[in-house]
């Protein structure tokens, strides 16, 4: 094992380095929450002086968590962890293997008075009792006849907890590795698919182009249900996954229940309705009820008696908070006229008397003698899917489990060793209890107090 002399080694073996790196990570993360990142950064960059924007761009400040800075920090942290662990390993191993009997010098010096007491039994009896008691809670019980008449019994607990901190640090390494795997071989993107349509590629997040999928996704149906207050309750897409015109999988996709196929995960992320729906229009002439036709944007139809043609210019689901509306353009011998037809025109008139006179654009009877009526608008939904692949995810999950195990071992367990010296003191026998723990002195104190009580009780019981 390299020695501390090597400057490279001692640099990475320092806990100050760890703390410095963690503080840097904190600072970088704080900056990353105040400067808009990735997709959000584009709008932000346009609103600031271009010099500053290009400087930030060069510094990779618009994607800090995937920047070379962040990568360097993680690399240094990883190296730091490895070197620290290697550096301490031999000591930990020695402490793990070390027989507890070889306690340090001065183990029994300066013991607090409550850890030394006398009893009437002889050394042999006391030794037997104490061994019996220690056996219940401690492992590796051994006794040693130090001098004539003097016996030292020792035991230990929680030996394996010495490795717990290594488990935590290993889990951090796995976490970094898993995150890197995901960053380099994973991808994430979005695709909107209208009902009845298919998609075989997605737009990658952060404007990094498109990505072909290993299969084709067809949206057969999209369903959304709302609560009374208008908030969506559930939405789902019925999807078919096709490959080489064969169906790979067919089923519903719901929020919180992604579909995983060929290493790719598909999520129900959002939805919307497309502007290319169809409107149901009626156009009674002179009060006579006519037929109803269904038209989409851009379509042109002729009015009866060759009085003109009508083109659908725009469909709006909710124009100016007044509900569905269609803008049409009528061409006739008298020229062109364009106006809006609201579905709820009666209600709008009621709320704003005289509106159709003041705003001719809102008058459905602008092209006489016709009165256009919007009977309804067919909403055509599209489903918003998020598609991603992350080969690092299983590693990250394993790291999480390891970290939890390691943390519990680190915080709630310690390597405790107990030495009990039994020696004659005149007519009586003197018992001294010494203990060491690698952490949590308060816990050790409590444990020794309990053990001392137990020994006293057991010896008193024996003497009666």
């Amino acid at each position: 094992m390299p020695k501390q002399k090597n400057p490279f080694w001692s640099f990475f073996a320092s806990v100050y380095l760890t703390i410095t790196l963690l503080v840097f990570t904190v600072v970088l993360s704080i900056v990353g929450t105040f400067i808009p990142q990735q997709d959000a950064a584009r709008g932000f960059a346009q609103g600031i002086p271009s010099g500053l924007a290009s400087f930030l761009q060069t510094m990779q400040a618009f994607d800090l968590f995937h920047s070379v800075w962040f990568f360097l920090l993680m690399l240094l942290l990883s190296l730091n962890l490895i070197v620290c662990s290697l550096n301490r390993w031999s000591l930990t191993w020695k402490q793990f293997r070390g027989s507890p009997i070889s306690g340090e010098e001065g183990l029994f010096q300066g013991l607090s008075p409550e850890r030394i007491f006398l009893c009437d039994e002889d050394v042999g009896t006391v030794t037997g009792r104490v061994e019996g008691l220690l056996n219940r809670k401690y492992r590796n019980i051994s006794s040693n006849q130090e001098k004539e008449d003097t016996v030292i019994i020792c035991g230990e607990r929680g030996r394996y907890s010495r490795f717990a901190v290594y488990v935590v640090h290993l889990s951090v390494q796995l976490l970094i590795l898993g995150a890197l795997l995901g960053a380099y071989w994973g991808w994430e993107g979005y695709v909107n698919i209208g009902e009845g349509e298919t998609a075989d590629a997605i737009d990658l997040k952060g404007g990094k182009g498109t990505k072909a999928l290993p299969f084709t996704i067809r949206c057969d149906k999209f369903i959304v249900a709302f609560y009374e207050n208008g908030v969506p309750k559930t939405y789902r897409s019925d999807l078919t996954f096709l490959k080489d015109s064969k169906t790979l999988y067919q089923g519903p996709l719901l929020v919180n229940h992604p579909i995983s196929l060929e290493g790719v995960r598909v999520y129900q992320a959002s939805y919307g309705s497309s502007p290319d729906g169809r409107a149901s229009l009626a156009f009674p002439r002179g009060g006579k009820e006519g037929k109803i036709i269904k038209v989409g944007p851009g379509e042109i139809f002729s009015l009866p008696e060759k009085e003109g043609t009508v083109q659908i210019v725009r469909l709006e689901e909710n124009l100016m908070q007044m509900g569905p509306a269609v803008k049409i353009l009528v061409r006739s011998g008298q020229g062109e006229v364009s106006f809006w037809i609201f579905q709820h025109i009666d209600k709008i008139r009621e709320m704003n008397p005289g509106v159709t006179e003041q705003v001719p654009m809102f008058n459905p009877a602008l092209f006489k003698p016709y009165v256009f009526v919007l009977k309804g608008m067919e909403e055509r939904y599209y489903t918003g899917l998020q598609v991603s692949r992350d080969p690092g995810a299983p590693l990250v999950a394993a790291a999480a489990v390891l970290m939890m195990v390691g943390l519990i071992g680190t915080f709630f367990s310690s390597h405790r060793r107990i030495w009990i010296k039994i020696q004659p003191a005149g007519e009586k026998t003197k018992i001294s209890v010494a203990a060491r723990s690698n952490k949590h002195p308060v816990v050790l104190d409590r444990e020794v107090r309990q053990l001392t009580e137990q020994i006293k009780v057991s010896l008193e019981k024996g003497s009666t």
């Binding site: 806990v15 760890t18 703390i19 963690l22 503080v23 990570t25 904190v26 993360s29 704080i30 990353g32 929450t33 105040f34 808009p36 990142q37 959000a40 968590f65 995150a179 994430e188 609560y227 207050n229 908030v231 969506p232 309750k233 559930t234 939405y235 719901l254 929020v255 919180n256 229940h257 992604p258 995960r265 999520y267 129900q268 992320a269 998020q386 598609v387 991603s388 992350d390 995810a393 990250v396 999950a397 999480a400 970290m403 939890m404 943390l407 519990i408 915080f411 952490k439 308060v442």
Partner: protein, 273 residues
């Protein structure tokens, strides 16, 4: 709604408990300490009842879910966790002097939940993203963590006040140090679990276990600050004043993670309502 009425009584009980803890200091009579503790216990009982009523009422409305789904409910649960932890700590260390510092936190959380404008105390239906079994485990673990950090923060404040004659009742420095450490460890373990359950949930709901959403990033920042604190203690042997300072800095990060990030754009927008 019955639950909000019960919960507003709880606010007064906690305030009463705080006043009793103050009386105990001023008059030096243990009677007030006992009265305060009973007020806390009564408050915690009513608080638990209020939460359960709210849960039940949500089912009566046909939108049944655990009361952990919006800002109001998170504040109420946060306060519950703080008081719960406080009761355990007082019972374990047999010292009532912490009450003066911890109870105001619980009282303020409750009062803020009931009085602040823009916080709706109505039971709202869950949007699809929140309809997950991970909601409960994520919110419970996170707020248990926040509660432990709150107690550590209160003890950190006590650490700096203990030399002022008025506050001579504050326990010795090494007891405070141990309390800061224990609560930090508890908070750290729960925060770790909270981040993990959140990641698993995000893996099912958002398409990635980690998206660098501001709340995620700030939870990592908080986690790192406490990680630095624990390393400094374990490896460099930091104690007392330095730990108290770090407990206060850490709590500032907790507050920002909980409240501050709502002013930054991101995915965790449920709390804005």
């Amino acid at each position: 709604m019955t639950n909000t009425m019960v919960l507003s009584w709880v606010t007064f009980l906690y305030f009463g408990a705080f006043v009793f803890y103050l009386f105990r200091l001023v008059f030096g009579k243990e009677f007030w300490g006992k009265a305060a503790f009973y007020a806390v216990l009564g408050g915690l009982g009513a608080h638990t009842l209020g939460l359960m009523l709210r849960w039940k009422e949500s089912y009566a409305l046909g939108i049944g879910h655990a009361p952990l789904s919006n800002f109001y409910e998170s504040l109420i649960f946060f306060a519950w966790a703080v008081v719960m932890l406080y009761v355990i700590v007082e019972w374990r260390i047999k010292n009532r002097s912490l009450g003066v510092f911890v109870l105001p936190a619980a009282f303020l959380l409750m009062a803020f939940a009931s009085l602040a404008s823009g916080i709706s105390d109505r039971i709202q239906p869950l949007i699809p993203a929140l309809q997950s079994n991970w909601l409960t485990s994520h919110v419970v673990t996170c707020f248990m963590g926040y509660a432990a950090f709150t107690v550590a923060f209160a003890v950190g404040i006590m650490y700096f006040l203990r030399n002022i004659p008025l506050f001579s009742f504050i326990p010795e420095a090494h007891i405070l140090d141990e309390l800061i450490y224990q609560n930090t460890v508890l908070g750290f373990v729960f925060l770790t679990l909270g981040i993990m359950t959140g990641s698993v949930w995000a893996h099912y709901a958002w398409g990635a276990y980690w998206s660098w959403d501001p709340k995620e990033t700030w939870s990592l920042i908080t986690w790192l600050i406490y990680a630095v604190m624990l390393h400094a203690r374990y490896v460099r042997g930091w104690r007392g004043k330095r730990m108290a300072v770090l407990a206060i800095i850490g709590f500032a990060a907790v507050l920002f993670t909980y409240l501050g990030v709502n002013y930054l754009p991101g995915l965790h927008s449920y709390l804005q309502s």
